[in-house]
């Protein structure tokens, strides 16, 4: 099961980041989605908002649970997936592609190198469960 693409970076809080130059697109991992259950609500920041690595930038809710979203890197929000906010079940179907949430223009791109690789993330999941 190649569930976790090598092209993505990961956090211990189960977010992913796709880093391209100084920009990072962010979502939650398949593992996070499975833990949450059916996602029914998503709250994301506005374009232009500042986010800080490790700090909450939004909220995702399943039928049963509320969960905060943590920014993998610091910077300014340059894009928000409005379609996903209107139809958050996209996260259930395809968390790593269609389930992208925000794009961040990184204020310190070096932070991206601190994120986990796919292999490290899979090791983390294996050690936790």
């Amino acid at each position: 099961m190649a569930a976790y693409p090598d092209s993505l970076k990961y956090t211990k809080e189960h977010e992913w980041a796709r880093v391209r130059g100084e920009r990072a697109t962010v979502g939650i991992t398949a593992f996070a989605k499975d833990q949450l259950g059916d996602v029914v609500y998503l709250e994301l920041p506005e374009v232009g908002a500042a986010v800080k690595k490790g700090q909450p930038f939004g909220v995702v809710e399943s039928t049963k649970a509320v969960s905060e979203l943590f920014a993998p890197v610091s910077g300014k929000v340059t894009k928000v997936n409005k379609e996903l906010v209107d139809a958050p079940e996209g996260i259930n179907d395809d968390p790593h592609e269609r389930g992208w949430m925000i794009e961040i223009e990184m204020s310190s791109p070096a932070e991206a190198s601190e994120l986990l690789s796919a292999t490290q993330y899979e090791e983390l999941l294996a050690s936790e469960h």
């Binding site: 609500y41 709250e43 809710e61 399943s62 039928t63």
Partner: protein, 361 residues
């Protein structure tokens, strides 16, 4: 160490995610809450509700004792009929909501919530008026079969047949070859269907028989969203010992004209006379978000009440909930706010049930 129902292995085999609920390891979901919810609204779902407890009251004074203990009037009930009711303390607070199955005036079978297994039994025994009160919670498993296809599915497995049973009536039957089951036309989803009490040793056979006929296994997640869509109260969330059945909108199970009254009747009569200060009301969020248990209800910037249950309705795809509100704010159409993560979100009191019930037709 959490308790397990006789169907624990069946849940693991079906890929359930387990959680601890009222001391039991219970399935919260199998494939997913929304899929399971839809299966019950459109076809048939099965729920393991073996965590629920059973208590019997028997003897010459059984009916008299029950009438003293419960808010509803069992004399209005015939033998073979079941009745939704509440146990109240002297202050009128709800100890539990229960279903009483009347075999005869001398033999009553009572289903209580999992959290009430010990508490309700002790309370009933203390106020038994000499009738024999027995704990039978470990002697029974229970499976709820709910949805438009459920009645036929259960009926085909039953001897004698049960399809003729009216809403809130019950019969003993052999089900899927398992003798001594109690089959009741009741449920907690708003759909037609049955709840089947079965001895623990026969539970798996019944469960598998329903699965073979296409029933979808459903967890506590779907059970909660289904009951909330039809505004059925959940003990511990929507009512407790600090709230009365009148405040919880259960005035229809409080019978003041019952001879001799019942425990809590004086307090409830007083409350009715003075007027209710707060009431449980159904609401929808007008703004975005999902209201959850414990979120504050606000009016003009101050806290006036509390959300007791809330979810995103899988059928309506709207955020719905129940909240205790001051009586003047509890009328249909009233506007208030729910505080979600520190921000007020507009809400409006609406008619309940949120989704039309099919059960009692």
């Amino acid at each position: 160490m959490a308790l397990r129902t006789p169907l624990y292995d069946a849940h693991l085999a079906a890929g359930a995610r387990m959680v601890t609920f009222a001391g039991f390891e219970m399935p919260v979901q199998y494939k997913g809450v929304i899929e399971e919810h839809a299966a019950v609204r459109e076809r048939a779902g099965i729920f393991d509700v073996s965590h629920m407890g059973e208590v019997t009251i028997e003897g010459a004074r059984a009916l008299e004792a029950a009438q003293h203990l419960i808010t509803n009037d069992l004399s209005k009930c015939s033998d073979g009929q079941a009745q939704y009711s509440a146990l109240c303390n002297e202050r009128g607070g709800v100890i539990d909501d229960i279903i009483v199955y009347r075999y005869s005036p001398a033999r009553l079978f009572i289903c209580v919530n999992a959290s009430g297994r010990a508490k309700d039994f002790e309370w009933m025994r203390e106020h038994s008026l000499g009738a024999t009160v027995e704990q039978h919670s470990d002697d029974w498993a229970q499976i709820a079969v709910q949805g438009p296809r459920a009645p036929q599915m259960v009926d085909e497995l039953c001897s004698p047949r049960v399809i003729d049973l009216a809403y809130y009536h019950f019969r003993e039957a052999t089900v899927a070859g398992v003798p001594g089951c109690i089959v009741a036309r009741t449920g907690y989803t708003g759909e037609d269907g049955f709840e089947v009490f079965v001895r623990p040793a026969g539970a798996r056979k019944l469960w598998d028989a329903f699965l073979e006929r296409g029933a979808v296994p459903c967890g506590l997640g779907a059970r909660d969203s289904l009951r909330l869509e039809v505004a059925y109260r959940l003990y511990g969330n929507d009512m407790d010992e600090e709230h009365t059945p009148l405040e919880a909108g259960l005035g229809w199970i409080v019978k003041f004209d019952k001879p001799g009254g019942f425990i809590g009747s004086e307090a409830l009569a007083r409350q009715k006379q003075v007027g209710l200060k707060r009431r449980l009301a159904g609401f929808k969020l007008v703004g975005k978000g999902i209201a959850r248990h414990g979120y504050p209800a606000l009016s003009k910037g101050s806290r006036v009440g509390e959300v007791t249950s809330g979810t995103m309705s899988p059928v309506l795809k709207e955020p719905i909930g129940l909240a205790y509100l001051p009586s003047e704010l509890s009328k249909i159409g009233s506007a208030f706010e729910v505080e979600i993560r520190g921000k007020p979100v507009a809400a409006q009191v609406v008619k309940t049930p949120f989704v039309e019930k099919q059960a009692s037709k």
